[in-house]
Amino acid sequence: CALLRPKTEGTPADVAQSAAWQQRIALLSPIDRFVLQGRVASGALGFKADLRWKQHPAGRFEMRVAGPFGARAAELAGDTQEVRVRTGDDATTVTTDPEAWLEKALGVRLPVSGLRWWALGLPAPESHSDVLIDPASGRALRIVQNGWELDYVEYRVADSLDLPRRIEARNGDTRVLVLADQWSQLPPLMNPAP
């Protein structure tokens, strides 16, 4: 279960009481498709790339990462079990560990394993996570999961949804910034049960 630590140390806000957090989960969890256009960068390595993440129903995704003007573009497509990686018209490989593949190819580890949920500001449901929330807004401030520590530094309203804009992700000595510039093709807003 998600161990929640109160943002303000003084007032214990456990997961059940934070209506705002429960409301966000009810509102955002059903989102099973979206297109996220953004950037990933690692300052120390001077690495910077454009990112396009297309989430499809039933957990399938396509991730395109490329340098300026599409240089060295690579596409990862698959689901949480298996991912097909394409780097050229004919160069295709299959991997069960996309993060390791990307680290070998680009020299930097990217938070791919949970991005489908983390980009929405939610922990992935299928594995343990620690979540630090702001009880008032219900926003996740930090999610620790799958070896990643994600700090949600900035949120912004997109398509009438309050979604993360700037995520600072750490994994071991990897420091990566994920910027969500544009959201599209989100499913129509379902009104969560009151």
Partner: protein
């Protein structure tokens, strides 16, 4: 004119160039991946300024020795030596010191919409692009097209292009803002 004539006119006649650019990137299915726009200023040989104002601010400046890339959102500046033949970006391609024919195999792709289309195939293996299309009119670049390894394309269209006008030197210098991390020598987006 023919491809060779247009390239010669460009190399010999165009000393400075400035204007706006509009950039659209599509994937192998023709679906829009991203679009952007901004300003370009080039002083041949060797110096350029390429700044996006859409969808977010991003700046590249080459003073002839170094290429500075500044991303305000990322609070990050990368600086690397300005290579002779780097064809990684439109600005580098158009501003480069060496003659185009020295560093590219050129192919005449004929005339389209009244513009001469030239295919430039980088001779060096490390280039990020198999080939780049340059569209010219009377030796003045109007459009560039980069095809990426996945079969997608990035098209850069130049607008309101003025050639051989005066451009202040300050356009081609860059001093990193205080508090922004400067990363040396990282090769383009490696």
């Amino acid at each position: 004119g023919s491809a060779d004539e247009e390239l010669r006119q460009f190399v010999e006649n165009v000393r400075t160039l400035n204007g706006r650019f509009v950039q659209t990137q599509t994937d192998e299915h023709g679906e829009l991946v991203s679009s952007g726009a901004g300003m370009v200023a080039i002083s041949r040989p060797g110096r350029f300024r390429w700044s996006y104002d859409q969808p977010y601010e991003q700046l590249m400046v080459c003073d002839g020795q170094k290429i500075w890339a500044y991303d305000p959102d990322l609070k990050q500046v990368t600086v690397r030596p300005a290579g002779e033949t780097l064809a990684g970006t439109p600005a580098e391609l158009l501003a480069q010191k060496a003659k185009l024919a020295e560093n590219f195999r050129t192919k005449d792709l004929g005339e389209k919409d009244g513009l001469r289309v030239v295919s430039l195939e980088p001779k060096s293996e490390q280039s990020d692009f198999k080939s780049i299309e340059l569209w010219l009119k009377a030796g003045v670049p109007q459009k560039l097209r980069f095809s990426d390894p996945l079969g997608g394309n990035t098209v850069v269209e130049l607008r309101d292009v003025k050639v051989n006008g005066p451009i202040p030197d300050a356009q081609f210098t860059f001093t990193p803002p205080k508090g922004v991390e400067v990363v040396e020598g990282a090769a383009s987006a490696r």
